[in-house]
Symmetry: C2
Subunit: 211 residues, 2 copies
C-alpha cells in the first residue's frame, strides 16, 4: 500500500529547515550548505563518500517513490512565479524521476524534464494534493519533499506515514521552523533517534498502526 | 580552574526546557514529568535504575560543584516572592549541598537549609552573579541550574564552559525556549551528540580552548 514519506529533511538544533533570507544565490539563506554537509559526505552523493549510517539513511530518498510533492519555496527563489523561464534549481535532469507536484497559488503549465521528472503546478490543500500524487504514484510511495512549511502542513493534517529528520548540531537562530504547531506529534509515531559519528542525529517517526 | 557547567538540562525536540503554564501543581507546565523520565530511570536517581549512558551523564550533576546559580522560575511557582514561607520545591534538604544563588528582582534574606544548601537571593547580571558564585565555590565549579531563560542568558554572555543538554523525543509546542538568540553558538564549542537506547539524545557543548 502506498505510503507518504519524508526523507533527508535536515534541521538545525533549534528546528529550522532553512535559514533566511532565501534567494537565488542562497537557497537556504544564511544556513548555506551547513544543513546538508552530512549528505555530501555519503557514498550516495559521491564516489568518495562513506557508507555508514548517514549513507544508509540518505539512500532511502530514492527508494520506491512514484511521485513527489514540494512547496513553492523549494521549487525556486522568491519571485520565481514572475519568471516564465524558471525551470527549478536542478537543471534539465532533476533528481526526482517521477511526476513532481509543486504547490503554488500561481499554477503554470506542466514541464516535462529529462530523466522522468515532470513538474506539475497545483493550487491545492495537502489532502487534495496527496490524492492527485497518489493516483500518479500507483503502488509506489509519495515523497513530501519540503520545505519546512510543507512538511509541517502535511504532518498537521495527519498525512505522513514515515518521516526521517536529520538534526545538524548548529544553532541557526532564524529561518523556517519545522516543529511549530505540532504539539504531541510523537503520540502517533514510534520515534527513534540515532546519532552518527559525523555529528548529526537521525530521527525517524514511524506511524503506529491504527488501534 | 573553576568552570561553569550546565548538566541534565532537558528540552523537547522543539527546544522547550519547560511547558506552560508553570504552577505549584505543575512546575513544568503541560510537559509534566516527560522531560525527566529518562533521569528517573537511572541508578543515579533510584536503586532500580540502569547504569548506561543516561546514568553516566546524570551523575555529573553532583560532580565537583561548589555553588549553583538558578533563576527565580526554578526556585518556585509564579508568585513565590509574595509568600514569605516559600523555601523552594525540595523540602528541608535540597539536592544542591552548596551555596545556591537565586536570581530575582525581589531579594530576601538567605535561607540555610540542611545538607549544606544555603539559598542566597541576588538581583544581578549573569557576570555579577557568576563572580559571587565563583568566590563561594573556590576551586570547585559553578552549576548553572536553569531554567531555560537563565541557561540562555549565561550562554549569550559567553559564560558557559560545558553544557549537557538532553533532548527528549516529544514536541511540546509551547513553553520556554532554550535556543532563542543563540545563533552560531556552535562556533565556540566542540559539540557531540549521542543517542541512548532510552530514546533521548545527549548533546554536549565543550568550549574550545581560546586560540
Amino acid at each position: 500500500m502506498s505510503r507518504t514519506r519524508v526523507h533527508n529533511f535536515a534541521i538545525s538544533l533549534d528546528g529550522f529547515g532553512s535559514g533566511e533570507p532565501q534567494s537565488l544565490e542562497a537557497p537556504f539563506g544564511h544556513a548555506g550548505q551547513r544543513l546538508h554537509e552530512w549528505m555530501f559526505a555519503t557514498r550516495y552523493w559521491g564516489p568518495d563518500g562513506g557508507e555508514g549510517v548517514d549513507d544508509a539513511f540518505a539512500r532511502r530518498f530514492a527508494d520506491g517513490f512514484g511521485a513527489e510533492i514540494m512547496g513553492a519555496n523549494k521549487f525556486g527563489p522568491p519571485g520565481w512565479q514572475d519568471d516564465p523561464q524558471w525551470r527549478g534549481w536542478w537543471g534539465e535532469d532533476p533528481p526526482f524521476h517521477t511526476p513532481t507536484y509543486v504547490l503554488t497559488h500561481r499554477p503554470r503549465p506542466s514541464m516535462e524534464m529529462e530523466g522522468g521528472t515532470t513538474f506539475h503546478f497545483l493550487e491545492a490543500s495537502p489532502v487534495e494534493a496527496l490524492e492527485v500524487a497518489r493516483a500518479a504514484a500507483g503502488d509506489l510511495d509519495v515523497r513530501i519533499g519540503g520545505g519546512a512549511t510543507v512538511v509541517r502542513d502535511f504532518l498537521a493534517a495527519g498525512l505522513v506515514d514515515l518521516m526521517h529528520v536529520v538534526q545538524v548540531p548548529i544553532v541557526l537562530g532564524r529561518g523556517v521552523r519545522l516543529w511549530d504547531g505540532l504539539e504531541g506529534l510523537e503520540s502517533d509515531y514510534a520515534v527513534e533517534a540515532v546519532s552518527s559519528p559525523s555529528g548529526v542525529t537521525h530521527l525517524t517517526f514511524t506511524r503506529r498502526p491504527a488501534s
